[in-house]
């Protein structure tokens, strides 16, 4: 297996990943879109290769066998690596328009102000002719501790080193970062004036010659104020770079609502993606403080080391496509959350990438994809009406619950531990993901005398296979519709979401479902 690790990016986080990995002896390739990288020359040894001005185009293969196609200086390049770490920098969009302002010599971005203060090559004379500086942050859009820290640090320097009067206008001051509450107090002591808005926002006018006038009602003093700053500093929104967003597509990685290259899913803590062998660290995955970026770099290095310790995946338990039955409809290819299906002469499953969620097998229209122990026949064998039960005067329904083993099955165990009484006729069938539940499974349950069937999935956004629970929802909905059409009680089929720590809720759902089934009576499909 190829252990070589590709690092994408040239910022501090990518450098930190590289430096961490260099100590392990794992071969590294760093690919950057421009020609700068913050590593010193001595590091460029046999273990490290730097490919500057390189842009990725495509990626095939899986953990241990990734093949990257890229363009470097207008020439195509092919690269074979075993693991990939995405550590591209984020970028910033200025928020002038949010405050109804236009950039000018006295209306500047936060980054511009930071450059003035910290970059020795930047002209500082603009600070010599001014007295009042206003920072506008987080009152149209919510801000983040990263931006709040920069605002406060800049304001502190302006107060202390330049003897200027600074004002910070904000809604919710974001102090949920290390040392930020102390910094907030320090800026106040240094003379920074904070004006916080709750519902109202200030009127901001940009007049002739770009003079700024800010008028507002102050909630603390109940008075109207007017501020005429000599300089207005506007905050920025941190967004993923367009290149990083493109990488998500190239690698088939789920992104979050803001376009960062990591699904907003707890199963991806902290640097994982839906693809085995591809990690994402630092500003590519979220808005992170410097310390958190360093931590990400270490986690990415750790993840690579862990994979390198050599796990060999056995084919037997993973999904398998039976070529004779496959019609290349590509349903499995589209649905696989782990991108574990390859299209060669035959459609094949990559054992290294397959997580055995069962979505492909459940949705293959030809039954060509199979997974040991998940076939409807095998599941059917698990479902057994308890024949040893005492004959009851009252109807005691037989209920089959297909439970995701990460969530609902754990919740069932917790419910028992907590002392909840579960329906006597409840049988739980654990599945690796609710997305593995197919028509065949549900009918196998009914065929095995179930009076009711529950499919218990993870909550939306909490499925390890990203969409497995959504697919389960679709399957159930379709069968329910079929039931209504043929006059079978659709209430016999229920889908609910649960998490592993919801023991009480599991008991409640099972209880209510039993009540429902008792009301409807025994299933007509029941054999006696």
């Amino acid at each position: 297996m190829n252990n070589k690790t590709l690092i994408l990016g040239n910022g501090p986080c990518a450098v930190a990943v590289a430096e961490n990995l260099l100590t392990t002896g794992i071969a590294i390739v760093i690919a950057t879109t421009d020609d700068t990288i913050g590593l010193d020359g001595s590091a460029d040894s046999g273990a490290l290769q730097i490919l500057a001005e390189m842009r990725l185009i495509s990626c095939k293969g899986s953990l241990g066998t990734f093949r990257i196609e890229a363009i470097q200086n207008n020439k195509p390049v092919t690269l074979d690596v075993g693991r990939i770490i995405i550590a591209e920098e984020d970028q910033r969009t200025s928020n002038f328009s949010l405050y109804g302002l236009n950039a000018s010599s006295n209306v500047i971005t936060l980054s511009h102000m930071k450059n003035v203060l910290h970059d020795s090559s930047c002209e500082k004379s603009i600070l010599s002719e001014i007295k009042k500086v206003v920072f506008l942050t987080g009152f149209v859009k919510e801000s983040s501790p990263v931006i709040a820290k920069e605002v406060m640090l800049s304001s502190l320097l302006l107060q202390k080193d330049y003897n200027l009067q600074t004002y910070i206008l904000t809604k919710n001051l974001k102090v949920a970062g290390d040392g930020l509450e102390s910094l907030y107090r320090e800026t106040k002591e240094a003379g920074t004036i904070y004006i916080k808005f709750t519902d109202a926002v200030p009127d901001i006018h940009q007049g002739e010659e770009d003079n700024i006038r800010i008028e507002f009602f102050d909630e603390i003093t109940s008075k109207n104020f007017r501020l005429t700053p000599d300089m207005t500093v506007v905050d920025e929104t941190i967004v993923p770079s367009r290149y990083a967003t493109g990488l998500a597509k190239i690698f088939h990685i789920e992104s979050d609502v803001n376009g960062f290259v990591q699904a907003d899913n707890v199963h991806r803590y902290s640097v994982l993606t839906n693809r085995k062998g591809i990690m994402v660290a630092g500003p590519s995955r979220d808005i992170l403080a410097d310390d958190d970026q360093r931590i990400d770099a270490e986690n990415a290095a750790l993840a690579v080391t862990g994979l390198a310790s050599g796990e060999t995946e056995t084919k037997a338990k993973k999904a398998q496509v039976h070529a004779g039955q496959c019609i290349r409809c590509l349903t499995c290819y589209r649905l696989c959350p782990y991108h574990a299906i390859t299209l060669n002469a035959c459609v094949e499953v990559v054992p290294n990438a397959c997580e055995r969620c069962g979505i492909c097998a459940a949705h293959c229209p030809r039954g060509a994809v199979r997974i040991t122990d998940l076939e409807p026949g095998a599941i059917s064998d698990l479902i057994t009406t308890d024949t040893g039960r005492q004959p009851q005067k009252t109807f005691m329904p037989f209920i089959v619950a297909f439970c995701c083993h990460r969530s609902a099955a754990q919740a069932r165990d917790l419910a028992i531990c907590m002392g909840h009484r579960l329906p006597q006729g409840l049988q739980v069938v654990e599945v690796p993901c609710s997305g593995a539940v197919s028509y065949d499974h549900i009918f196998a349950a009914l065929d095995n005398n179930a009076d009711g069937v529950m499919v218990l999935t993870c909550h939306k956004g909490n499925c390890h296979s990203e969409q497995g629970n959504i697919y389960a929802g679709q399957t159930v909905e379709q069968i329910q519709e079929m039931f209504s059409r043929v006059g079978f009680e659709k209430e016999r089929l229920l889908i609910q979401t649960l998490a592993s720590n919801m023991g009480t809720e599991f008991a409640r759902i099972a209880d209510r479902f039993e009540e429902t089934i008792v009301k409807i009576g025994p299933s007509r499909l029941k054999k006696n």
Binding site: P12, V15, A16, E19, N20, L22, T23, K141, E142, N172, K174, V175, A176, G177, D178, E181, S182, K196, T198, E219, S222, D256, V257, N258, F260, D264, N265, V266, H267, Y269, S270, V271, D286, D290, D291, D292, R294, I295, D296, A297, E298, N299, L302, S309, Q410, D413, L414, C417, G419, H459, K460, G461, N462, T497, A499, S500, N501, M502, T504, E505
Partner: protein, 421 residues
């Protein structure tokens, strides 16, 4: 690998996450936990999903880490245990005292009969997870047997003869190549605040509410099952407080409180919820939308109430200054939830003495920015012992500590001085 094993002190999120990472790398882990149950504070947290959608509080990940840790062959766990002293001569030698495990873990089947039969309230303690095994423990502070040997009901009635009230404490010696301190945090005790916590029945902490929601799936009035209509959440209790010299934001309380508030709104829609705050902190990747929706259901008041009075019907009269009018308002609530902050845990004193590490200005135990100060000696920290952090941050921090630990035990020089993040 005997010389590469790691001693982890603390079985909360950080300790468990680090243990699993190390064990997966084939490093032996000795994990000791002071309390009877693994999982730390967070194992008691409720799932706060609303509208069938995960809100990314991370509580279920604690369950997952715990499950992986207890079933991992490379992890040895001692509960009810504390380090008595530790010495270092290349390797660490720690002597551990383990309180008697009155309920035998091999024999106990978690049937719960001991809890049912025990005559004294809150004497048989219950765990929070199915991976807390045994799921029950005897609270020696309250147990009559430990007071005057007057009661042996649990022992007599246990169908598995799993209870031995005479069991003695045991001593263990653990040798380890490195130590990870992951002793967590102390929730701020609001007793000294004018909020009547501990005296007024219907004043609870955010942690109490988390556990209540996990156990019952809904919020109940501690004073009884009377109508519960109005709930107030008070933020920043023990955080951002200059009088206490608590000059930090606890980071997690806005997220916990607003998520719980929305969960209650969903499950008990008739409840009216008021949220008293200073600044709402950003949490989660879709905070903007979450916060917008929260404001539709929840009344937000930017003020922190001065004090409360308990009325005859045990409801609470809350005084606060209404910002727009500057008037002192008085309002009655059925339940008040105090979002208590994260404060340094009580073990920091002994830990800093034992390992000769000074706490930071606020009393947390931190390695310096580059992880050098402490880790040079083979002692590492992770989790909220370092300061406030969320569950995802804690898991990431545990990974970072594990990375430093493997560098240390492999004898690699740490190269952090070159990192310029």
């Amino acid at each position: 690998m005997a010389d590469k094993n790691v001693l982890i002190i603390g079985g909360g999120v950080a300790g468990l996450a680090a243990a699993v990472e190390l064990a997966d790398l084939d490093i032996q882990v000795e994990l000791i936990e002071k309390s009877n149950f693994l999982g730390g504070h967070a194992i008691g947290y409720a799932c706060k999903a609303i509208n069938n959608t995960c809100v990314k509080c991370g509580a279920c990940m604690v369950e997952e880490k715990l499950q992986s840790a207890v079933s991992h062959p490379n992890i040895k766990i001692l509960t009810g245990s504390q380090v008595q002293n530790i010495s270092k001569n290349h390797r660490f030698t720690a002597s551990i005292r383990q309180e008697p495990l009155v309920i035998d873990r091999e024999k106990c089947t978690n049937c719960g009969l001991c809890l049912d039969r025990c005559p004294v309230d809150r004497t048989i303690l219950q765990g929070f997870s199915k991976n807390n095994h045994p799921f029950y423990a005897v609270n020696k502070e309250k147990c009559l047997y430990f007071k005057d040997q007057s009661c042996t009901i649990c022992k007599d009635e246990c169908p598995e003869t799993a209870i031995d009230l005479d069991k003695k404490a045991s001593e263990h010696t653990i040798e380890a190549g490195a130590v990870l301190i992951a002793t967590g945090f102390q929730p701020f005790n609001p007793k000294d605040k004018p909020y009547g916590y501990g005296r007024f029945k219907n004043v609870v902490t955010g942690l109490d509410l988390e556990r209540m929601l996990k156990q019952f799936g809904r919020v109940k009035k501690p004073s009884g099952n009377k109508l519960l209509q109005k709930i107030a959440f008070i933020q920043c209790v023990g955080s951002r407080d200059a009088k206490l010299n608590h000059l930090w934001c606890s980071k997690v309380c806005c997220g916990s409180a607003l998520r719980m508030a929305r969960l209650i709104k969903e499950r008990q829609p008739k409840t009216e919820i008021t949220f008293f705050y200073m600044d709402v902190q950003t949490f989660g990747k879709d905070f903007e939308q979450f916060y917008r929706e929260a404001r539709e259901d929840i009344r937000m008041i930017r003020a922190i109430p001065g004090d409360f009075y308990e009325m005859d019907d045990q409801r609470l009269k809350v005084n606060f200054v209404d910002n727009p009018t500057h008037e002192t308002m008085e309002e009655v609530f059925d339940l008040v939830v105090l979002s208590v902050g994260i404060t340094p845990c009580e073990d920091i004193g002994p830990m800093s003495r034992m390992f000769k590490i000074g706490p930071d200005e606020f009393g947390f135990l931190k390695t310096d920015d580059k992880g050098m100060l402490v880790s040079k000696n083979g002692v590492f920290t992770a989790g909220t012992v370092q300061g406030p952090m969320s569950i995802p941050e804690t898991i990431a921090g545990a990974g970072s500590a594990v990375w430093k630990i493997i560098k240390y035990i492999d004898g690699h020089e740490l190269r952090f001085e070159k990192v310029t993040v």
